[in-house]
């Protein structure tokens, strides 16, 4: 188990390095001059030139990257060009809300997706199966912003059931829960589809296996056969899928946070990009990449826990 984690950490180093390089290059080639942003639109060209020089923006790109990496190693991500606060403190304030949103999204959508997929598999070909599958196809194919807007239109505006702007406070407060409900619902809806579909096909596949027949031959109830010998084994590929969907989920979070003005990393990243605030953009990209790696690591650990054949190699 420890070995799995260590391996995983080692493997994530090149990924992280790649993300850093990519993030750096993207910000370089993007339109907008950081010195101009810092100096303000009215500043005379000489001032901008001075700032460029002081920031080392005229140095070769490799030198700039090395300098950036050097500072990164010391935990210095620079300062936001807009707010002049450190990038670390900006990110720090946004991470909590995003983690809360992810949690609120996954805590209901994973169990719901697994339950729906299992029901669809057990009642394959029935009306229940068809309704569930239609629902998940819709979830997969509708763009997330559309789902957000529909939910806002009905639950937020028309029926005024839930707030849809900003964050109400920590998750454990009533206001916090009320504010996170719509974003978590929207984000979860796009996640249920793939989970339900994967669970359905995985359960169907497992229920055909020999060991399920053995379970029946033991005299277990159909329910025990499906849950203990079908679903339990079927979860192994489902967990893998959830890991693969992590990027999709993070992308969805960026859109969701932006639409709901929810103060998380995703909205921060969009704001930073739109205002050419490149230290903050790089910081946000770094955090999203770390989140991706972390989710996949958790998935690997769960995988090893679920499948004894992985642990005891």
């Amino acid at each position: 188990m420890i070995e799995t984690i260590v391996n995983r950490l080692l493997l994530s180093i090149p990924v992280l390095l790649g993300v850093l390089i990519l993030g750096f290059v993207l910000v370089q080639v993007a339109p907008g001059d950081p010195a101009r942003v810092l100096a303000g639109p009215m500043a005379p060209p000489e001032v901008v030139a001075t700032i460029r020089e002081r920031m080392g923006l005229d140095d070769p790109i490799v030198v700039q990257f090395m300098r950036y990496m050097g500072r990164l190693m010391q935990g210095d991500l620079g300062r936001s060009l807009i707010s002049n606060k450190t990038v670390i403190s900006e990110l720090g304030a946004a991470i909590g809300p995003t983690v809360e949103l992810m949690f609120a999204c996954l805590i209901w959508s994973i169990p719901a997706g697994i339950a729906m997929g299992t029901l669809a598999a057990v009642w394959r070909g029935s009306l229940v199966d068809r309704v569930i599958m239609a629902f998940s196809v819709a979830g997969v194919s509708l763009p997330i912003f559309f789902i957000c807007l529909v939910l806002i239109q009905y639950l937020g505006v028309k029926w005024q059931l839930l707030p849809f702007i900003g964050r109400g406070g920590p998750l454990w407060t009533v206001d916090g829960l009320r504010h996170i409900a719509l974003p978590a619902l929207s984000l979860g809806l796009i996640f249920i589809g793939p989970v339900a579909r994967m669970t359905r096909s995985s359960v169907l596949e497992v229920l055909r296996l020999d060991h399920v027949r053995t379970a029946r031959a033991k005299g277990l109830s159909e329910r025990a056969v499906i849950l203990r010998h079908g679903l339990r084994n079927a979860l192994i590929p489902v967990i893998t899928l959830i890991g693969l969907q992590a990027g999709y989920l993070l992308g969805g979070a960026v859109v969701t946070e932006t639409i709901f003005s929810y103060p998380g990393i995703g909205r921060l990243a969009v704001g930073a990009i739109l205002s050419a605030d490149f230290p903050l953009t790089q910081g946000a990209i770094l955090v999203l990449a770390l989140a991706f790696i972390l989710i996949n690591m958790i998935v690997d650990i769960l995988y090893a826990l679920l499948d004894p054949r992985v642990q005891k190699k």
Binding site: L209, T214, A215, A217, G219, R228, P308
Partner: protein
């Protein structure tokens, strides 16, 4: 004479839907006495597994369908039993071992847990007592260091060891009937012999009846009291083991016997009969063996031969039985 423990009467099991329905088992009858061993032999595809699954009522419906006959176990007709009572019998008074030891155990639970699960369904043993009983069972099937192996996952065991675990599982609740569907087919020859010996030995100790399904006449000769020969979903010959080997009557059985000594081609011993089993969806007017039978004539091809007794306890479905000169 006491009523048999199990009697299968004119069983018919069909597969398919609408116009594509075909019988995989077509009018099969036999009986197993308490403590006895009955063998069912026949080439692959002739309906042995479907018959054995039907006794456990584990044929999946659909695509399967119990289309006729009765399966009496200790007097009650299993095909008409409510599902809850059937469940109590499965793994309780009837245990089953399957052909594929590599895949018949669930890879995500330990061997011990899988045995304990069966114990708990059929008794109210405490967790502690169930575990002790699981270790005892693993010891009974002669798995080395059972107290340690009980916590092993199936992938940590060899094929032969897994089959031992399967036997322990099937015997967990002291069944009256053990159904073994090709229990040694997937194992190599030395392990096959060990497993068969183990089953015989356990039978002597526990008095359980065994329904042994195999395509291997050699296995039958060593272990069974009586033999049913199946061909294309029907019983073609049935006799006590000695009578069958001493005086085989059906041309198919004779063909099987001719194939037996060829142990070097163990996997397909029976393939030495020319041709292959007609698929169950092929409609045939007469004897299903006619296309491969050296004695086939017009009557054979047009009228199906009924199963009839040619000696007490020896039944054959062939127009030409008793075969002249075939008797020893």
């Amino acid at each position: 004479m006491a009523a048999p423990l199990l009697s299968v009467e004119d069983l018919r099991v069909e597969f398919g839907v609408d116009r594509n329905v075909f019988p995989a088992v077509d009018g099969v009858s036999f009986a197993v006495d308490r403590g006895a061993t009955l063998g069912i032999v026949g080439e692959s595809g002739c309906g042995k597994s479907v018959t054995s699954l039907a006794i456990m009522r584990l044929v999946s419906v659909p695509p399967g369908r119990y289309a006729g006959g009765a399966i009496r176990f200790d007097g009650q007709d299993l095909l008409r039993l409510p599902e809850s009572r059937m469940r109590a019998l499965r793994g309780g008074r009837m245990g089953m071992i399957f052909q594929e030891p590599m895949t018949s155990l669930n890879p995500v639970y330990t061997c011990g847990d899988q045995i304990v699960e069966s114990l708990k369904v059929h008794s109210d043993l405490s967790a502690r007592a169930a575990r002790d009983r699981a270790i005892e069972l693993l010891d009974l099937v002669r798995l080395p260091s059972p107290a340690k192996r009980v916590d092993d996952y199936p992938h940590q065991l060899s094929g032969g060891q897994r089959q031992r675990v399967m036997i322990a599982l099937a015997l967990a609740n002291d069944p009256d009937l053990l159904i073994a569907d090709e229990p040694t087919t997937a194992l190599d020859v030395t392990i096959q012999a060990q497993i068969l010996e183990l089953m015989k030995d356990l039978q002597d100790r526990t008095g359980t009846a065994i329904l042994l399904i195999t395509h291997d006449l050699g296995v039958v000769a060593e272990t069974c009291d009586e033999v049913v020969v199946m061909y294309a979903g029907t019983v073609v010959e049935q006799a006590p083991t000695a009578a069958l080997f001493g005086d085989p009557q059906h041309p198919y059985t004779v063909g099987l016997m001719a194939a037996v000594p060829r142990i070097d081609v163990a996997a397909d011993r029976l393939a030495t009969i020319e041709g292959s089993v007609p698929p169950p969806w092929q409609v045939l007017a007469g004897c299903r063996f006619a296309s491969r039978c050296p004695l086939a004539d017009d009557r054979c091809r047009n009228e199906p031969p009924p199963l009839r007794a040619i000696a007490p306890a020896h039944r054959v479905a062939c127009w030409h039985a008793p075969i002249d000169g075939a008797a020893a």
